[in-house]
Structure formats: C-alpha cells, structure tokens
C-alpha cells in the first residue's frame, strides 16, 4: 500500500547501492524534509524552540555516539564530556572574537583532539575496561571544567554564550536557531547514511565484529579506532556547541555531567545500536519522556486522588526512566529502530506477504 513492492529487483549495481533504493522511501524523506523546513510556519514557536530544536540537536549527538558505539563497537561512557569540550571551546573562541562558523569547527577539532585521548584507552583495553576508563575520563573532564576558573568562567561557573552570527548576520529568532539545528542534524544524518556505503564504514564494522580478525585481513584496527573516536568526538563537540548556541545560551558544567552521558547512551540503546532512524526515535523518546511522565503523573494524581510530595514528583520521572531502559533491554534489545524496521519489513511487501524470504 505504502511501499508497493513485491520484492526488490535491482538491475544494476548503482540501483543496489543507492541511498534509498525504494522510491516510497525517497518520497517519505522528501515530505519529511519539507515538513521540517515548514515547521516554524506550521507549529507554535514555543514547540519549535522547546521540543523540535533540542530533539534535532540531540539526534545529531546520538548519531555521533552511535558511530562509536554502534558502528565501531567501542564503549563510550564519557560522551557528554566530549560535547562539553566542544561547547566550552566554541564559547571561549566566540568570546575572543572569532566568527561563530569558525569557532564551532575549532570546538569540534578541540573535542576531536581530546577525544583521541579516549581512543588511546580503547587501543589498550576493550569491553568493560574501556567503559570504566571512559567513565573515569568523564569524571576527570568534569573536574577540570568545574575547577579551572579559566574554563568554567569564574565562581558562578556559568558562562554566557554570545549570540550566533552566521556570516555576520545575528541569528536570534526561534526559527533561525531551529534552522541551524536542522542543518546540522541533516548534515550528520547524511554523513552517517553514506558512511555505510564507504570503505571506512565497512572497516569500522569489521573492527566492531572482531578487531583481531579485522587486523589479519589487513584492516588497521588501530587506525580505524582512532578515526572512529576522532570523528565521533568532532560530531559530539560541534553538537555540544550548537546545543549551547541554540538552546541553553549559557554553558555550565552540569549540562555535560556524567548523567548526561548516560542519557546520551540511553538514547542510543533505546533507539537501537547502529540504527540511524533509531537515533531519531531514541532522542525523541528520552527527551520527551520526562515531560510526558510529569503530565501523566499529574493527570493520574488528579484522576485518582493521589497526592504526591514535590520530591516524589521530582524523582519519579527519573525512576521511570531507569525502568524504561531496563524494559527496553529485556523486551527489544535492538531498540525502537528494530521495531520500526520490523513494521517496515511487514509493510514493504504488504499485501503480498508471500514474497518475503
């Protein structure tokens, strides 16, 4: 109905290697992009700036983390620290008078360089130990950011971010900031989509599956781990800078604490390891859930006559968030992306169910 396929019949390699081999997919992407472009006109600006914008930015962040976690298979429990490095570097650079466009690239590069530090941990150890060492690096970064006044901006530890200026034009309207986030998100998404089709992407997957097996067929796993960490850190750093520039407008160490790292990790796990569309779902899910929970709880409270203390209300969404992560791991370990692809697989050939392999 939607896809109108009765199997996939490519007649040449170009068709087989196309980004979206099915025309229905191309249509859907096109319509989605149009909707995304028209969103500031269609939707209340409050929704744009407080839901759509952080969703797009966090999706870019989740994609960057997915690159390292889902593609290269390396743990990273310190992704928020990397984002924080990018954010702080960018804010300091813009405050020093460097144009914003260059400053975010500088921020990304700084994050990338420090991110390689995490990569050296990855070259030495794997699995659990890598997870723990990246966690420790997150703590070190937290500490450095909050204890070095030159970085954190003094005793208040809050640093105002200058307004974004693109090519000299100040971008201050909600719609303008939204478009900045949209452009970045689309850029990261198309990078990730194309990564699958490149030698780099295949090498990363080889390293993920078995790094020494990849090494014996000539994939330099050392080099590719380094590339994966620095690329993902670059994406993370720029995302952090854009998050500050478009959403928070001021930077504090808590915005990039270990809890945020876990949140980013949760986005990837809930969305699905290695799934691009899953990163969109995961980011939306994790960002929207606390608000939805609060609404639901207050609705339930009035409906059934409960009364919760303020403390309970403050912590209950967090507890449910933990419970949801557990539930996802138990029920669908491959996340929302897998659920989507199951539905899609079903609809792909619907109503001709018999053509399925």
């Amino acid at each position: 109905m939607l896809f109108r396929q009765a199997g996939i019949f490519h007649t040449n390699y170009a068709a087989d290697r196309a980004l979206f081999p099915i025309s229905a997919d191309r249509w859907m992407i096109g319509i989605l992009l149009l909707c995304a472009l028209a969103a500031p006109l269609l939707v209340n600006s409050l929704y744009v700036s407080s839901y759509l914008l952080p969703w797009l930015v966090w999706t870019a962040g989740a994609l960057g983390l997915n690159l390292i976690l889902g593609w290269a298979g390396q743990f990273h429990l310190g992704y928020a620290a990397v984002m924080g490095i990018g954010a702080y570097a960018t804010v300091h650079a813009t405050r020093a008078g460097i144009p914003w466009e260059i400053a975010i690239v500088l921020g990304g590069a700084t994050a990338s360089i420090i991110g390689i530090g995490f990569a050296f941990a990855a070259l030495r150890v794997k699995g659990l130990y890598l997870a723990l060492s990246t966690l420790a690096l997150q703590f070190v970064m937290d500490w450095v950011i909050s204890h070095v006044p030159a970085i954190s901006g003094g005793t208040q530890a809050t640093l105002q971010a200058p307004d974004i200026r693109l090519l000299g034009w100040p971008v201050t309207s909600d719609a303008g900031l939204y478009y900045v986030a949209l452009i970045w998100c689309v850029m990261v998404t198309s990078f990730m989509l194309n990564l699958r089709r490149t030698a780099l992407g295949r090498a990363l997957i080889a390293v993920r599956e078995k790094d020494f097996a990849a090494a014996v067929i000539g994939v330099n796993s050392f080099y590719f781990k380094l590339v994966a960490f620095s690329t993902s850190s670059f994406i993370g750093g720029v995302t952090g800078a854009i998050l500050i520039g478009t959403f928070y407008h001021a930077v504090t160490p808590e915005q990039f604490s270990v809890d945020v790292s876990i949140q980013a990790l949760a986005m990837v796990i809930v969305g699905g390891l290695g799934s691009i569309i899953g990163s969109y779902f995961g980011a939306a899910f994790i960002l929207l859930m606390p608000g939805a929970m609060n609404t639901f709880i207050s609705w339930a409270a009035t409906q059934f006559g409960f009364s919760f203390s303020i403390e309970t209300l403050a912590h209950l969404p967090q507890a449910l968030y933990g419970a949801l992560i557990i539930a996802f791991l138990l029920i669908e370990p491959l996340g929302l992306g897998k659920i989507y692809s199951n539905i899609r697989d079903y609809l792909l050939v619907w109503p001709f169910g018999y053509v399925k392999k």
Binding site: V140, A314, I325
Partner: protein, 295 residues
C-alpha cells in the same frame, strides 16, 4: 612537613579505604560468580541505608533490629534483581549487561528518592563521635568500626568460597556451560551472589550513612567501589581489601597535599586518576586473573 599529620591522614585514609573495600567487595562478589560488572552497587548501598531508616523510623524498630530486617529485605531485593533483570540477559553482549546495571542504578537511586525524598537524614547507630587516641594520632571511631567490619566480611567471604556452595559459585564464574552440564543451577548461584552483594551493600550503606548521613551522595560511592575493585583485580576479594587500603591512603595523603593547591575536592580526581592508571598499566589489577582482560 608535619609527619604526625601525614601519619594521621594515612591511618585514617587506610581505615576509610577499608570502608571503600566494603562497596568494592559487593562488585567483586558478583563479578566473581557471573562476570557481570555491577554498576548499581552504589545505588544498592544507598537503598540499603534507606531501608534501614525505613524500618527504624517508620516501623519504630530498634536500630539493630532494623539493620537485621534490612539485611533480610535486601537479600530478597538482590535475588529479585537477578530474576527480573539479569537472567534473560545471560549470554548477551557486555554492552547490554552494562547498560542494564546502569538502568538499575538509575531506577534504584531515583526510586529511593521518590519514596523517601532527597533531604539528608542522620543514621544513628550509636558510635560516638569522640576520636580514638592511638598514641599521638586521632582516629575516627566510625572509620575504625567500619574497617573492622570490612576485615570481618573479608574473612567471612574467604571462608565462604571454600565451602561447597562457594566452590560451586567459583565454578559458575569459570564456565557457565560446563556448570550447567554437571547440574549446577547457574541461575540460583548468580542470584545468591547478587543477594550476598546486596547484603554487603546494606552493611556498607549503614556504616557510610553513619559517617555522612543518608542521602543521594551514598550512590556516588560507586566510583570508589569500582576503582578499588579494578585496582584489586575484579575477581579477588583479598585484592579488594588491599586495594581499598591503598586507595584510602593515597587519597588521604594526596588530599592533604592537593586540597590547598587545587581548592578542595581533589579526592574524586585522585580516584579517577587511579582508575585510569590501573586500567592502562595493569588492567587485571593487583591480584586479578590474567585472562579477564579479554571479554
């Protein structure tokens, strides 16, 4: 340099370190019998302390009874965690298991906050605040008691791992499939290790709570616990004990040097640095099995 002060911070540091070992022992117990790294140990410690308070304040039980009741409750909680969360994950990639323990950490921590609220409360277990005098050194009484309990737990676990049940748990950690093949109930063994670890967490929670009160910061003992457990070697109980002393001393001494230089709070930095150094230089820790590097 004031040598007396240095010695005092070293001795007290060592005692505090033994209290870290209590947290680390819980991690080691679980790792030793199922190769699962438990990142929820800090939250379990915190939950244990809250459960004790719940029995003491709400059910008006005397504190010793409250502690015993809490230990029994937490034993059940540990079993339940294995049954609900971990049994179905057996054999899955380690990232799923790590994420599961992280999810448990969030659930337990935020869950206790939801039920009991975040304001700090005292945990009166009847240890006086007066320092002990050991020659010229002043020693914190609670630390001394905590250290003694840690050593006692260590002795208990060393004995336990020589009993039939202990041998069975060690067998499980060696080879799940082979354990199944000789009729060992792997699930029950792993559940037992979680339950024991929850009990240790409760004891650690009580002791730490009497030092710093019952609040969310108890969950942050996780970093100390993980550092000590990795430094000692993730599957070595004795390693956890020695590494605890070592970390405590290094932390105590380093803090007395670094705090004036860095403006306080250098303990966490020392922990993180120790953890990174251990993993980079000697991932299997002081006494861990060598093969555990490959997961």
């Amino acid at each position: 340099m004031d040598w007396a002060l240095l010695a005092e911070s070293a001795v007290n540091g060592g005692l505090v370190g033994l209290m870290y070992s209590l947290v680390a022992m819980g991690i080691v117990l679980i790792y030793k019998s199922s190769s699962v790294p438990n990142l929820a140990q800090g939250a379990m410690t915190m939950l244990g302390a809250y459960v004790v308070l719940a029995f003491a304040n709400n059910a008006k039980a005397p504190i010793w009874l409250a502690i015993i009741l809490a230990i029994v409750t937490m034993f059940g909680v540990g079993m339940a965690i294995e049954r609900v969360a971990l049994r179905r994950l057996a054999g899955r990639p380690i990232i799923m298991i790590l994420m599961m323990t992280l999810g448990l950490e969030i659930l337990l921590r935020a869950g206790s906050m939801t039920i009991w609220g975040g304001t700090g409360r005292p945990m009166p277990i009847g240890i006086s605040d007066d320092p002990l005098f050991l020659g010229p050194l002043l020693i914190n009484r609670t630390y001394a008691v905590g250290a003694a309990v840690a050593v006692a737990m260590f002795a208990l676990f060393v004995l336990f791992f020589r009993t039939r049940m202990g041998v069975v748990l060690r067998a499980i950690s060696d080879d799940y499939t082979a354990a199944w093949s000789v009729g060992i109930s792997v699930e029950r063994g792993v559940a037992l290790s979680w339950a024991m670890s929850a009990v240790v967490a409760t004891i650690a929670g009580v002791l730490w709570a009497s030092v710093q009160g019952v609040d969310q910061s108890l969950a942050q003992l996780l970093l100390k616990g993980v550092t000590v457990a990795v430094l000692g070697g993730l599957d070595s109980i004795g390693g956890a004990l020695l590494a605890g002393i070592l970390l405590g001393i290094v932390e105590g001494v380093a803090a007395s040097f670094l705090d004036p230089l860095l403006g306080g709070a250098s303990r966490d930095l020392v922990d993180a640095a120790m953890l990174i150094l251990t993993i980079m230089v000697r991932p299997h820790g002081l006494f861990g099995r060598h093969d555990i590097e490959r997961i």
